[in-house]
Amino acid sequence: MKDSYDVIVVGGGPAGSTAARFAAMEGADVLVLEKDREIGVPVRCGEAVDHEGIIEFIQPDKKFVAAEIRNFKLVAPDGTVVKPNIEGVGYVLDRRVFDYELARLAADQGAEIVTKAYVDGVTRTDGRVEGVSVQYKGERILLKSKIVIGADGVESRVGRWAGLNTTVSMHDMESAAQVTAANVDVEDDTCFFYFGEKYAPGGYLWVFPKGNRTANIGLAVAADQSRKKHALKFLEEFMETNYPDASVLSKLAGGVPCAETLEEVTMPGLMLVGDAAHQVNPVSGGGIISGMIAGKMAGKVAAEVVKKDDMSLIRKYDQEWQKSLGIRHHRYYKIKKVIYKFRDSDLNSIAAAMSKLPEAQQTLGTLFKQAVMKHPALIMDVMKLFFS
């Protein structure tokens, strides 16, 4: 480790590794600091992605693809199953290997990666971030950089240390628990989603197959609705009822910031990417792909700032994100607010109406139309959504 770099990336998840890879590819001198002892471990994720999303970054490989997904099944509170027709293919990953590969790709471009390095603050001069302080091998070291990229996940503090308010509201934080279970009978090519108050108020429950009768089974509850009953309790009850013979291979807690993207994801000397910037899809909670997309944008812009020695260019990352996924996430966030208003009875009647349609018409589009029809009060909300 040197005492100065062009770019210091805090966090070695998908967003951080991708930012490091593209910054290094464009010629910057890059350091990644990861507090855990190993990249990719522990996994805190359902691990589902779509094919179109990952191919821009890495070719799907059986090293890190645990299952290929061809179907979705949505389960209403009363048990009605809807199977919308989806196009394309998805994967359930093995993120231990996947994250490792992303870090290796960054290292191949020349980025230096250091684990067991805990960043505990940023240094600033005249409102400009100039480096980080890191606890490493029992010492506290100050490192200098032209740009710090905060890719430190849902627990992000980098932005806050620099003066940005990145606190996630209780309404938007999803409080999650998941097990990876063996000895479970699941459909190897199908992701199941369960909706309703009894499974996960303000969120949903998922069963994602991982091959050989194993699966990620987890749920997320809106933090403002989990006061009386926490995520782990919901999950334990579901497992007892539905998979009493399962062996739990791992059990994890997690948080998903299902918020709108932060208004500003940069300031002089600092960029935020991935969960740290609230770039998760607010409806699905998926953040792997969007974190990588943001990482690539940020990495390239960071290298340009360094090359041209012009800090004003850092705003290009804000603009590019807003133009592409930012606008979409803004819309998704509004949809989320509508979905939040559904009660179990609404969900049941939407599912009942859907299941009466011929199979070819059971698409996500008609699902949404049914939702609006079954809940006329929502029409106004949806109108607002599409005309705002």
Binding site: E155, T167, A176, A223, S226, G255
Partner: protein
């Protein structure tokens, strides 16, 4: 005043994300709270998936220095 059941903590960071005072410190292996900054808002308690936090005798202990 917060009691942290450290043995239950999975180090996931959900509480850190919602803490308005930025006073929860989470390293690779430990969670700790900077008590002098904590306002006892209890958001961490509600957000934690694993019920790690417990708020005890709030009024009685508020005056006791952390």
């Amino acid at each position: 005043m917060i009691k942290i059941h450290e043995d239950k903590c999975d180090l996931c960071g959900c509480c850190v994300g919602v803490c308005p005072e930025n006073c929860i410190d989470l390293t690779e292996s430990r969670i700790s709270i900077e008590h002098e900054l904590c306002t006892d808002c209890r958001k961490c308690e509600w957000a934690c998936p694993f019920e790690v936090f417990e708020f005890k005798n709030q009024k009685a202990t508020l005056k006791v220095p952390a």
